[in-house]
Point group: C2
Chain length 422, copies 2
């Protein structure tokens, strides 16, 4: 499959410039990005007149639990602890592989409609999830989700199997969090990291209580603990990072670890506001995720990027606390590099064709005083005109090419009936 | 024009129930809301099979400066003071009536795409703005924007002229704010309120500095000052209300005044976070607005409603700080009553046909664990399938019936060139 996009504007994310020209794809890769070509001396399977719309790298959802779409707006009158123990855990215990398949497809539909071309996902029933990803054509990076209740026994197998199964699917080592993982299991995690020279990710410093608990148990913060145990010797990072102190940030900075922010979830669950501006000021590696649909409740990366920017303003009492372009980088190239997708970071020849087209005819994208700022400050899913992954158009003008959305919605609501009797 | 919507779900906002059935409109009014009718014994100009999609009252943007779309993403690397004095005021001085016409149309396009059926607007060049509203078919409530630089001389004329010009247009007394309005002008405002037994609105307690300045000048907060001067003797309210203290809230509560929140603008300009949960707990009259596109930068009511809910969570460290339905009421019926649109508040026979259709086939609206919570927590403009004002469908499936969006975009960008040489 080859596609020629012409009459487009292109934000490659190599820098903040927007170029006028065209972009070609051949199979899963970009084959040309540059000025307009009057009459290309080759043919394409499809030629798309973009009429001035903008191409940019797909957004990367760098922390999510995709199949948790089942829990959207479910019993969220509960506070976190009751919500988990009364609403979520009993239902997760009944969540079949088939349910994970359908609820993951529902999430993919939402990702595609929101310009998201890859997710970094922590959940279970990975086989059925993989099936859903490959059928959809979605780029799915699994993160290990082991904790003391299970998962460590499968980590190494998943690492080997899922990293050689399909080009769309990969696996990165991870465990749930310090507060659900004993020291022996943490040490085992470190052993695996060393055995494979592999990065490791986990939830980290999401709530104040989590950090205080870790200090009581070990006398140090989770970041210091993981670092001392050698878990981070080959890279990786953490999700949330709301309650990082200066020492935590220094460890992450010195080791080039990734901090993945989840502003919406942290607001909704009343966990706090991550001081994103401090990470930016220190020039750290940052990425952005939505967390699961139960605690967000959408899977919109636009809302996340907006909040990472403006929450930094209100926290610092400075309306120019962060350059919004830094956040757009975190949501695109940062996420890609964090998830090990080194070929999905920018738009240039040779890179993967993971591309979003932004509809510049939407009023929220006008006037064009500053297009990339319009994306951070004003965009939502309604501005996404097309989403391409691995060179295939999966979403265009509100229609899916690989997902039967009616079927997904029907099956999802049918499955909810089996989850209502808790 | 008569329309029959059938096979729909209806959130009337009379309560939080969602009914299955149908809704009819005749001219500008709703003529029937109730159970399905197998074969109505009358004809309609149009019958729409809603296929299970949801009808609800239009969102009401209860504080905005519509024509400020010109300032979207414009020089927002400046902090507030520089932004106003270096970027905004010099351009507003050059803003022609024609520019207000086109930039208001751009705002209407965004409102319609976001399910907004009325705005409470503070700006100038009201004649051209009125022309844009009537041509579009948009319900536009002007708020007086007088301050010491001008506007008081025209207030009474606008009140009389704009309230009898067109059913879509109305005018409510208002002035900019305490810090731009001397005591004599405030007293004149009070005189007008008393002369016409009319409500009055103003920006109030938006920033900490504003409240401190007022205390220095008068020894009291703006709310106390306005109340003492009799400005609020016939109702009204204020925009922002970020720095209200207990006494301010008591005045607003006792007099039934409206507090209009603008979360996005307050975050972006680093003004602070309004303690919305306190107003809700006190059972006060609340509404929601976007403020202008220069300080938001979108005109999405969904983002505002989401933030009013989750910011209350994080501020109180309580994930159940506010019942989201309270915020949905503020964004619909609250806004309508605040703006004097007593017939646009709910969906029932006899009320104005100001209606939004929510597309339940969007993945962010699924599964249907709680539809009204999905709207608060997960919706954005992409879920708006249709917007009707005064019985006329103005937006449907991404297309406008009264706005030539290409022309609006072309004219807006052309006008920006005249505003670039500052």
């Amino acid at each position: 499959m080859s596609v020629r996009f012409f009459n487009c504007r292109i934000l490659t994310m190599l820098d903040d410039k927007i170029i006028n020209g065209e972009l070609w794809t051949d199979n899963d890769r970009i084959s040309y990005v540059g000025p307009s070509v009057a009459s290309p001396d080759r043919s394409f399977d499809r030629e798309i007149d973009c009429k001035g719309n903008l191409l940019m790298p797909g957004l990367k959802n760098a922390h999510t639990h995709s199949a948790m779409t089942f829990s959207r707006s479910l019993a969220d009158e509960y506070c976190l602890n009751d919500w988990l123990h009364k609403a979520i855990f009993p239902r997760e215990a009944k969540l079949t592989p088939e349910a994970v398949y359908w609820f993951s497809k529902l999430a993919y539909a939402e990702y595609l409609a929101g310009g998201v071309t890859a997710c970094f996902d922590m959940y279970f029933h990975k086989e059925e999830n993989t099936k859903a990803a490959v059928e959809t054509g979605f780029r799915h990076v699994f993160c290990g989700a082991a904790n003391d209740f299970g998962g460590f026994e499968d980590l190494e197998r998943f690492y080997n199997e899922l990293n050689s199964f399909d080009p769309l699917v990969s696996f990165i080592y991870g465990f749930h969090a310090e507060y659900t993982t004993c020291e022996d299991n943490l040490k085992y995690m470190s052993e695996l990291a060393h055995k494979y020279s592999a990065p490791v990710f986990a939830h980290i410093s999401e709530t104040k209580e989590e950090v205080e608990g870790c200090k009581e148990r070990y006398g140090v913060t989770p970041a210091v603990l993981f670092d001392r145990l050698g878990i981070y010797d080959f890279g990786g990072g953490g999700f949330h990072c709301v309650w990082f102190n200066d020492e935590d940030r220094k460890i992450f900075k010195d080791k080039g670890l990734w901090s993945v922010f989840n502003a919406c979830s942290n607001l909704k669950l009343a966990s706090g506001i991550a001081p994103v501006y401090k990470f930016v000021k220190d020039g750290m590696n940052i990425a952005i995720g939505t967390d699961g649909a139960g605690s967000n409740n959408s899977l919109s990366m636009f809302r996340e990027m907006y909040l990472d920017t403006v929450l930094s303003n209100v926290e610092t009492h400075n309306a120019a606390a962060i350059d919004p372009f830094t956040i757009l980088k975190a949501g695109t190239t940062g996420g890609a590099l964090c998830m090990g997708l080194k070929d999905s970071d920018v738009l240039s020849a040779g890179k993967k064709a993971d591309i979003v087209m932004i509809d510049m005819n939407k009023p929220s994208m006008q006037p064009e005083n500053n297009i990339s700022r319009n994306i951070i400050y004003s965009a939502d899913n309604s501005v996404v005109k097309m989403t391409m992954i691995d060179g295939k158009i999966l979403y265009e003008d509100g229609r899916y090419t690989t997902i039967d959305i009616d079927e997904v919605i029907r099956e999802s609501n049918k499955l909810m009936k089996g989850l209502s009797d808790i």
